[in-house]
């Protein structure tokens, strides 16, 4: 029963954060809400017995990919005007909404860590099980994902270099 309540709280946070992310005019502010949304999804993963997926969600999505986004956006705004704009972005009131939402998630996760027993309904998927599935029956999918990344890399290399040549 308690898990269900926690699930709905986390889902509400995810929905709210996503809606806010879509409606922000400023890309950086939208990204912060998107990170909150991903964190909420990670909490949901944790609740349904997939702590490994929850960890990956945070490390890969909220961590690597979002930081990359923020980096690119900030690098496009270098110089004096960029500094001024950044100061404007980082006003305290901007942090208010994301802070509340992530505080809710933090409270949930602290509570979950404190309770001894895990979710009762489903078995927990361990990293070992994920690895065995990926490199057992689904090994073709792993290899195909490698090819997919290669296609993305080569394609973006070609288009990116074209943009550079145009500028010079």
């Amino acid at each position: 029963m308690l898990e269900v309540v926690l699930f709905y709280i986390a889902s509400a946070v995810a929905l709210l954060a996503t809606i806010l992310a879509m409606t922000r005019a400023n890309a950086i502010h939208a990204l912060i809400y998107l990170i909150i949304s991903l964190l909420a999804v990670a909490v949901i993963f944790f609740l349904i017995g997939a702590p490994f997926a929850a960890a990956l969600e945070i490390v890969i999505y909220a961590g690597a990919i979002m930081v990359l986004f923020v980096f690119v956006i900030m690098m496009l705004n270098l110089g004096e005007r960029g500094d001024a704009r950044e100061r404007q972005w980082l006003q305290p009131k901007i942090w208010f909404g994301p802070a509340i939402l992530s505080a809710v998630l933090l409270a949930e996760i602290v509570y979950l860590m404190g309770t001894v027993q895990g979710p009762a309904t489903v078995g927990i998927v361990t990293p070992k099980a994920v690895g065995l599935a990926l490199f057992g029956p689904y090994v073709v999918a792993v290899e195909l994902a490698a090819m997919l990344l290669l296609a993305g890399l080569v394609g973006s290399y070609h288009l990116g270099r074209r943009a550079l040549e145009r500028r010079h």
Binding site: V140, L144, M147, V154
Partner: protein, 476 residues
């Protein structure tokens, strides 16, 4: 994995190896002639490996189902890729360097298509579709000059991303209803899932089919088609129109048959609406096009509407389901070969920027072989006897009659009647008095003439002597 399984997977392995060899070649010496030859040899090796793989029937895990049907379509897709390669050899000659990536992307996209036709699991379906799509975005935007290719690529990218998102969401709903991600498992458990929660199954399946409809440019998801067909280099248009759409359609047939989606009547009714709309709107919009590539884009919407009729007819056939599969295979082969013939001529004659109808004024006097090929292709699209398109339509109409789907049959007839007007208009344009601008000396086509002639002979052969192909398809 044992050695038999590797042999069964050898078409996929061979394509991946070709891509890797191309990468290594690019790091040693960048030369586009060498890259072209490596790609051609790789595709030919893949054809051979498809032949050898057809001797084995081995389970290769949950992701792929390598059967005779999938292998036959894989071979057809490799053939499309080979024709695209032949067309691409000269088209980028204006740009001085770096054309090797194009061949790498082409091989990767073909790999995605081959995975797509053999997919038996939502994961492999999605991976195949994305691999095919991501390589295609870059291929569409490949030319360095002009903004049209870039615009086409962005349109295709954004709408494909929407389609992928819809597909994923639909799969999630279906997984919620059935608890299985393989097509067969979904089909087996969908009945009980439907009893528990009919909305979940229906909504999931409908969203998945809508996502696939984007890639097949069925109405109402057809908006991107003309711009992308027009903006892409003609060789890439050929690739998109034949390989990408053909592979997606085969995947859709597999999902509907193995996932037993045909059992839900409301879903099939929705598909009927899409089919009727595609046949009418596609043909109607094609009527007024002045650009031949846009005309082919809208006509492809109509043709996939016809093909959808065959899928809808399947559950009504009872014990003659084999006929349905044969009709789908035959029509798809006829459509792909005809499209290859038409777009080969457009690539040869129209050039890159100029696919305006005026470029084809008086083509019969300037390039008789090309003009005859285009005329045969147009007649085949229209379904005139002795061409491949006629046999395909004949199959479809027999199927629809057997299934007693009168509304769809009527729409198919009306659509075909409208279509004859604009297909014949192309032929009239070609036989008109040569345009003032085009009276200069004709461009030398050299070895690209026989490619077009070969495709024309294929269209005529399938149409006038279809028995070998019918036998072959019947055995699949």
């Amino acid at each position: 994995m044992n050695s038999d399984q590797l042999l069964v997977l050898s078409p996929i392995i061979s394509l991946s190896l070709t891509a890797l060899i191309l990468m290594i070649q690019a790091s040693i010496k960048r030369d586009h002639r060498i890259a072209w030859w490596i790609s051609t040899l790789g595709l030919l090796t893949t054809l051979l490996s498809i032949y050898s793989a057809s001797n084995f029937s081995q389970d290769v895990g949950p992701l792929l189902k390598v059967d005779a049907w999938g292998l036959w379509f894989s071979a057809l897709l490799i053939f499309c890729a080979l024709i695209t390669l032949a067309l691409s050899r000269d088209i980028f000659h204006t740009q001085a360097d770096t054309k090797e990536e194009y061949y790498l992307l082409l091989i990767l996209s073909t790999l995605g298509a081959v995975v797509l036709v053999q997919a038996a699991h939502t994961a492999s379906l999605l991976l195949g579709m994305e691999l095919m799509g991501i390589a295609l975005y870059a291929m569409i935007a490949f030319p360095k000059s002009g903004d049209l290719p870039l615009e086409a690529a962005v349109k295709y990218l954004v709408l494909s991303a929407c389609a992928s998102a819809m597909l994923l969401f639909g799969f999630a709903l279906l997984y919620g209803a059935t608890g299985d991600l393989s097509f067969a498992g979904m089909g087996a458990k969908a009945a009980s899932g439907y009893l528990n929660n009919p909305l979940l199954v229906l909504a999931g399946a409908a969203i998945v089919l809508a996502g696939m409809g984007f890639k097949l440019s069925l109405v109402p998801f057809h908006m991107w088609t003309p711009d992308v067909y027009q903006g892409a280099p003609t060789a890439v248009t050929t690739f998109l129109a034949t390989l990408s759409k053909g592979a997606m359609f085969v995947a859709m047939v597999r999902l509907i048959l193995d996932g037993q989606l045909y059992r839900y009547e409301s879903l099939m009714n929705a598909l009927s609406v899409v089919a009727v709309a595609s046949m009418l709107v596609g043909n109607w919009l094609a009527l007024r096009q002045q650009q031949i590539k846009r005309l082919i884009a809208y006509s492809s919407t109509a043709h996939f509407g016809y093909l959808l009729v065959a899928i809808i007819a399947l559950p009504h056939l009872g014990d003659t389901q084999q006929l349905g599969r044969a009709a789908i295979s035959f029509y798809l082969v006829a459509y792909i070969v005809t499209t290859l013939a038409a777009l080969t001529v457009i690539a040869n004659v129209g050039g890159e920027e100029d696919s305006d109808m005026q470029a084809f004024d008086g083509l019969f006097w300037r390039h008789p072989a090309q003009a005859i090929t285009l005329a045969v292709a147009m007649l085949s699209f229209a379904g005139i006897p002795l061409t491949a398109g006629f046999m395909g339509k004949f199959y479809l109409i027999t199927l629809t009659l057997n299934a007693q789907l009168w509304l769809l049959l009527g729409t198919l007839m009306i659509g075909s009647a409208i279509a004859i007007y604009y297909y014949l208009r192309v032929i009239f344009t070609m036989s008109a008095e040569p345009h003032q601008l085009n009276k200069g000396s004709p461009t030398v086509l050299g070895w690209r003439n026989p490619v077009a002639l070969l495709l024309m002979l294929a269209v005529l052969a399938i149409g006038s002597w279809p028995q070998p192909l019918i036998d072959l398809i019947g055995r699949l």
